[in-house]
Symmetry: C2
Subunit: 308 residues, 2 copies
């Protein structure tokens, strides 16, 4: 494998979730095709939520069916509940993402259920996966949201994060994600929490999910890298946010993340120029949606070479 | 001293240098007064360049005379040559900043002289300072520009940076600055170069000067912190750039830097709310000038407390 770090594109899920107007199905497919061609290894392609809640994801099954045509592309999806997981497995998704918030208030606001109920759901999703598929074909990711703070509760106890992460692992998660859902984290806190979580949950991949709400997104990536994290969620153009968390603007910018990692000598397997070019699709389809990021405008440094 | 990290405001110099319209003298004074009141310990207040070159700094002596009225405020200035240093010492500046580029081409483009000639100038500035003042009253800072890359030459040899830094120290610099003038650096490179420079030049304060051209400004601060750096240049609202380096947009944002440092438990001595409020002066005087930064819009996290 010629990759040191996994960069997972989540713009089609976390990004589009924050966009009111429907992003056309064909444009979603073009986005996936172009990023896959640029070397992106994993794309969170959609969310299996009730159509009545998110019209944006009404084409979820069609998107997954299309994305899984790409050889070598890992197609992950967001599945908040058992019903969504069932549809996602039927559609052929490779990885199901489940989210529970370390903050009870945020979980109630976001998913309309208690943390305990969310974890019961997760248990049922694992059972369903084991019944209909297997971990090799369909892995399951458990994401601890608001791991670094919550707009409702403020500080979040690291103990609560580690407890929830451990519970995810006990119940059968194949991957963990610690998410700074509302952009509250700082590099020092990030490093410490990833180190501690890694030490407590043992040998399971742990990914980081950062929002750039307060400008510390890539600094927090540095904190996570220091802790040994080698998998990061990001959105093309920094698209995204959390509709239930006021002030939570976009994810970290995929293309800026790739630039930083490659500049640091960490191979992503992604062609940065080709990735930046994918922004054209977003600009064409959503001319009024602000795209973020520095590298698209500044271009790479003179003489810049990707890591190898 | 209740401060772990020195945050030096350079917006009045590096920021205004990139602004075409004259920023009124009274507004400059208000900017300095407000930042001093917010707890900023050092402000690079102006540049002693020929009036014919930079109308923006035609009020340099008046600005310094005003700024030095603030008890406890360290008033630093930029002095590219002996003539400028003479005026700066006469005005009562506490710290003279001299810049030489590690890239010969950048030095020629930026200062219209060779690296060797720049260092000869520096030697004369030190002699002048020793004649007219002393290191306690007037310290001298030597800044290695394009230390992390150059828009003309591309990669810059770390050996050249360390050589130039060592030469500055030999000639009598009281502080060193390594500057990523054009925003080419990455956290790994930053950490390595500060560690190496620190090891080679011995016991002299070394500050970092980053531009956010490619979005890595605060990530690079993390790299420098890892190397033990505890002094950073920054511009309010990310104002600034280098008129001689195409694509080199603003300095890192002072208020975002202060937020990150305080969040990490590093005391800056600066009242963040008061600092953010100083942006009003810039917005009022330069309504068409884009201000950058995340914390002014997103505000601090709920329950956020400064380091103590």
């Amino acid at each position: 494998m010629d990759r040191d770090v996994l960069v997972r594109e989540v713009g089609l899920r976390d990004g589009l979730q924050a966009v009111d107007t429907f992003f056309p199905t064909e444009a979603k497919k073009a986005w996936i095709d172009s990023e896959a061609a640029a070397g992106v290894h994993e794309i969170q392609a959609c969310s299996f939520v009730p159509r009545s809640t998110f019209e944006q994801f009404s084409d979820a099954s069609e998107i997954v069916a299309h994305a899984t045509n790409h050889q070598g592309l890992l197609v992950s999806v967001f599945t908040p509940n058992v019903k969504g997981a069932e549809r996602a497995i039927a559609a052929g998704a490779h990885r199901l993402g489940h989210v529970t918030s370390a903050s009870e208030s945020h979980n109630q606001n976001n998913l309309r259920r208690s943390v305990g109920d969310s974890m019961d759901d997760f248990e049922r999703i694992v059972a369903l996966r084991n019944e209909l598929s297997d971990p090799e074909t369909t892995s399951i990711s458990g994401c601890v949201a608001t791991a670094f703070g919550c707009t409702i509760e403020g500080a979040v106890d690291p103990d609560a994060v580690v407890r929830l992460a451990s519970r995810y692992v006990e119940l059968g998660a194949d991957e963990l994600v610690l998410a700074d859902t509302v952009g509250y984290g700082n590099p020092d806190q990030v490093k410490k929490l990833f180190v501690r979580t890694g030490a407590e949950v043992g040998d399971i991949p742990i990914a980081a999910h950062f929002h750039d709400t307060r400008g510390l997104g890539l600094a927090n990536v540095c904190g996570a890298l220091d802790a040994g994290v080698r998998a990061f969620d990001a959105s093309l153009g920094g698209l995204g946010g959390c509709p239930f968390a006021p002030g939570a603007t976009g994810n970290i910018v995929t293309e800026d993340l790739v630039f930083m990692l490659e500049a640091m000598g960490l191979r992503t397997g992604i062609d940065l120029d080709a990735l930046v070019a994918v922004r054209d699709i977003l600009e064409r389809e959503m001319p009024d949606e602000p795209l973020h990021g520095a590298i698209a405008a500044a271009r790479v440094p003179k003489g810049f070479a990707v890591a190898n």
